[in-house]
Point group: C2
Chain length 204, copies 2
C-alpha cells in the first residue's frame, strides 16, 4: 500500500505539479482509503517527503539499470552522456524538479529535500566518474564531470517547456567529443570533429 | 502603477513561489487598491503572464548592463562565464524558474511563457556569441555555446537549493579554459590548466 501511495504521489507531481498534488487525489489514484492514508501520512508534506525518498531510490535504480546497457569502445562517452541526458529529461526528473522548486520557498520541505538531493548528487557523480573512466586526481577533471552533470540538469530543465531531444543530442555529442579530448582520449569524428576544425584554424 | 504591480509580482514569486503568490498579496505589496488591480489584471494568470514579459525585459537589461563591465584580454572568457553564472543564480532566475515549472502543468501559462522563453533564449544566445567572439560557422561552436548556456541554467537550478557560488566558480573557470582551447585561443593557467595536464598525460 505504501508503494502504491508513493507511486501515485510521483505520478501526480509529474502530471499536476506540486500545487496540484492533493492528498485526496493521491488516495483516489492509489486506491487507498482516506483513513488508511491519513494513518500513514497525516499531512501532504509527510506524503511528499516520503515520496522524495522513494523517488531518489527510483532515480538511482533507473540510472544503474541504464548503465548496464552501455557499449564499450570509442562511442562510450557519447552513450554515457545520452543516457544521462535522457535520465534528466524523464518524468522522474520532472517530479524531482517540482519538489526542488517547492522546497525553495518551504523550509520544512527543504530540510527533507536538500540532504536527499546531496546524496543523489554524490551517487550520480560517482557513477558518472566510473562510467567515463575519469581520473579525478588530474586537475580539472572533477570540475568537468561536475559541469557535465550541471549541463544535463540544465538540458532537463529546458526540456520541461517542450520536447528538446534533437537539440539535446547535438549538444551532448559535441560535449562528448570535447570531454574525450580533455580526458586524454582523442575522438575526432569526420565532418563534425576536432580534425576538421583544426584544418580551418591552423593557428591551433 | 503597472510597474509597481509587476515588481511586486516578481518579488512574491521569488519569496513565496508561484503557489504562494496571490493577487491579494500583490496588491498589498504594490500599494495598489484591489479595485484598480482587478481592473488591469482580472485574474492571477493575467498578472503573472504580464509579469513574465516584464521579467524577460528585466533579464535582458540586466545582462546587457553586466556585459558593459566585462574586461577584454585573456580573462574575458572567464569573466563572460562568471557573468552568465551569476545571472542564472540571481533572484530574477528564481522568479523565471517558478513560472517555467508552473507552466509545465498549466497549458494557459505555458502558451504565454514558452514563446517569451524562446525569445529570451535567442537573445541570450546572441549576446553570448558576441561576448565570446565565437564563430558559429565553425562546426561544433554553436553547440558549445548552447552547452554553455544549458550549463549555467543547470548551475542556476542547483543554486536554488543552497548557495553554490564557490563550486560554480570552479566549474565555470575550468569550462572557460576548455572553451578558449576549443574556440582556438589557448589559455593555459599555471597550476590548473592544460599545460600541467599535458605534462601528466604525454600521450595527448
Amino acid at each position: 500500500m505504501r508503494s502504491r501511495l508513493m507511486e501515485a504521489t510521483v505520478e501526480l507531481l509529474v502530471e499536476r505539479g506540486f500545487g496540484g498534488t492533493t492528498t485526496t487525489l493521491v488516495s483516489e489514484r492509489a486506491g487507498v482509503s482516506r483513513g488508511a492514508q491519513l494513518h500513514h501520512f497525516p499531512t501532504k508534506n509527510d506524503l511528499v517527503v516520503a515520496a522524495v525518498t522513494h523517488l531518489s531510490d527510483r532515480r538511482g535504480a533507473e540510472l544503474a539499470a541504464s548503465a548496464q546497457r552501455l557499449p564499450t569502445g570509442p562511442d562510450r562517452t557519447r552513450a554515457v552522456l545520452r543516457m544521462l541526458g535522457d535520465h534528466f529529461a524523464s518524468p522522474v526528473f520532472s517530479a524531482a524538479l517540482e519538489l526542488w522548486v517547492a522546497a525553495r520557498t518551504d523550509p520544512a520541505l527543504l530540510a527533507a529535500v536538500a540532504p536527499l538531493e546531496q546524496h543523489v548528487g554524490r551517487e550520480v557523480h560517482r557513477l558518472t566518474v566510473e562510467l567515463l573512466g575519469a581520473d579525478e586526481s588530474v586537475p580539472g577533471v572533477r570540475e568537468l564531470v561536475q559541469a557535465t552533470l550541471d549541463l544535463v540538469r540544465g538540458l532537463g530543465l529546458a526540456n520541461t517547456l517542450g520536447d528538446d531531444a534533437p537539440r539535446r543530442s547535438r549538444i551532448l555529442d559535441e560535449w562528448a567529443r570535447v570531454l574525450d579530448a580533455e580526458l586524454g582520449r582523442s575522438a575526432p569524428r569526420p565532418g563534425t570533429g576536432r580534425a576538421e576544425r583544426d584544418e580551418k584554424e591552423p593557428s591551433r
